[in-house]
């Protein structure tokens, strides 16, 4: 069992499993966000449930935060190790000849997504924590839709979100299918998984871009 904690393969498995967990979360987050465009009342209802259900708040939310921290901390640790593995760099390295740019720059797309998550947490989560636990404001199941739309009022925030979603797409493009390889899943279904990965990597971030733009262009004026 000790080998499972300290080896390079074990660390990659940790990256893969935490990454797949975050992919699941992303799909769930997207589903809820989509309701803000098609059914604002449902969005309010689901957001209120997520914000006040004790199972979500005190079990799933800490697991999610732990998943994010583990994925990023391990990613940075592995990157540092990888840099040490080639102390003297090549004067000419033709990476594009044998591998996609996105696969070689996961740390770059990952760091942008991390920076985005910090901004996103500040925008929504910190506000939510202050509302519930610092100000001890009363429960209001109708406030979420208006608060969300208001966030996308400033153009700068909407643009930052869109740039982050593009980088998220690049990260998913390689990361999703790659996670399965890391846990040893490479078989006759792998080609199908790669196709699904590409559809998912484009569709979900594009959907997030659409939602951000929709709210930016359709502010609540009343």
């Amino acid at each position: 069992m000790s080998a499972l904690i300290s080896s390079s393969i074990a660390r990659k498995v940790v990256m893969a499993l935490s990454g797949l967990f975050l992919v699941l979360f992303l799909a769930q987050h997207f589903t809820i966000n989509l309701t803000s465009v098609i059914a604002p009342d449902t969005f309010n209802e689901w957001s209120h449930f997520m914000g006040y259900n004790p199972l979500v708040q005190f079990l799933l939310q800490p697991i999610l935060i732990a998943g994010i921290v583990v994925h990023f901390a391990m990613g940075i640790y592995l990157e540092l190790q990888n840099n040490k593995a080639r102390a003297v760099k090549y004067s000419k390295f033709s990476g594009n000849a044998n591998s996609p740019w996105v696969s070689r720059n996961m740390i770059l797309s990952g760091m942008v997504v991390l920076a985005f998550i910090i901004l996103h947490m500040y925008d929504f989560w910190v506000h939510e924590m202050a509302y519930k636990y610092v100000e001890a404001s009363p429960e209001d199941p109708t406030r979420y839709y208006a608060e969300t739309v208001e966030k996308f009022g400033p153009l700068w925030r909407t643009l930052i979100y869109i740039v982050a979603f593009v980088l998220l797409a690049l990260h998913l493009w390689h990361g999703f299918a790659s996670s399965f390889q890391s846990i040893g899943w490479n078989n006759k279904y792998s080609a199908g998984l790669k196709t699904f990965t590409k559809i998912f990597a484009v569709a979900i971030p594009l959907g997030f871009v659409f939602i951000a733009l929709y709210h930016h262009l359709n502010p609540i004026t009343h």
Binding site: V13, N82, G95, S99, G184, N186
Partner: protein, 248 residues
Amino acid sequence: MKLYLKIWRQKDADSKGQMVDYELNGVEGDMSFLEMLDVLNEKLINEDKEPVEFDHDCREGICGACSLMINGEPHGPDRLVTTCQLHMRKFKDGDTIVIEPFRATAFPVIKDLIVDRSSFDRIQQAGGYISVNTSGNTVDANAIPIEKENADDSFYAAACIGCGACVAACKNASAMLFTSAKVSQFALLPQGRVEATERVLNMVRQMDLEGFGNCTNTGACEVECPKGISLENIARMNREYLQASMKG
């Protein structure tokens, strides 16, 4: 044809190396890349200069001795060939060719373009074998029925010549393709199952100890491998490793 060569020169393991420019005339398209370097070395010797040191042995693509990072790719721009099989017809008159040693912390430079790849030997020694009783009652390997698919996959894995191109091509200098080929060639056969648990644990431990990087599944190793070793071997080793870790 006339070529402009930029070659890494390094006196010994402790010296600091540098790229040195050379001009070479009279290179023919039929020459192999190593023959082109032979021509350069003859010229340097005639000029009373130190020839460029590089590794080579069989010069027919099976020994794994030749290496060289050529214009940023291990074994050069061609696919499924070693440097000795790379022909100069792949280049054209007036080309500049950058020639460097395979670079990895686990492959220290000995001199010029020669690197020490004994880290691969130590990975192999950690478990890349099967223990067979040779006291006279050894069972003929051909008498053991093996599924065709497994026999084929094992053979493809065994085609690895241990040249180190996978490490050289990987942006992380990871040795996962090499190690996984050496694990797979036994893992797929009943003879190899006996020591399968210790084998994968020990070989991966040695691989990590040598200071190779981590696999990020870029697939560069598979593309640059002169023997076409598949990434499926890495997935197989990951499976073997996880199963072995649970047991051990």
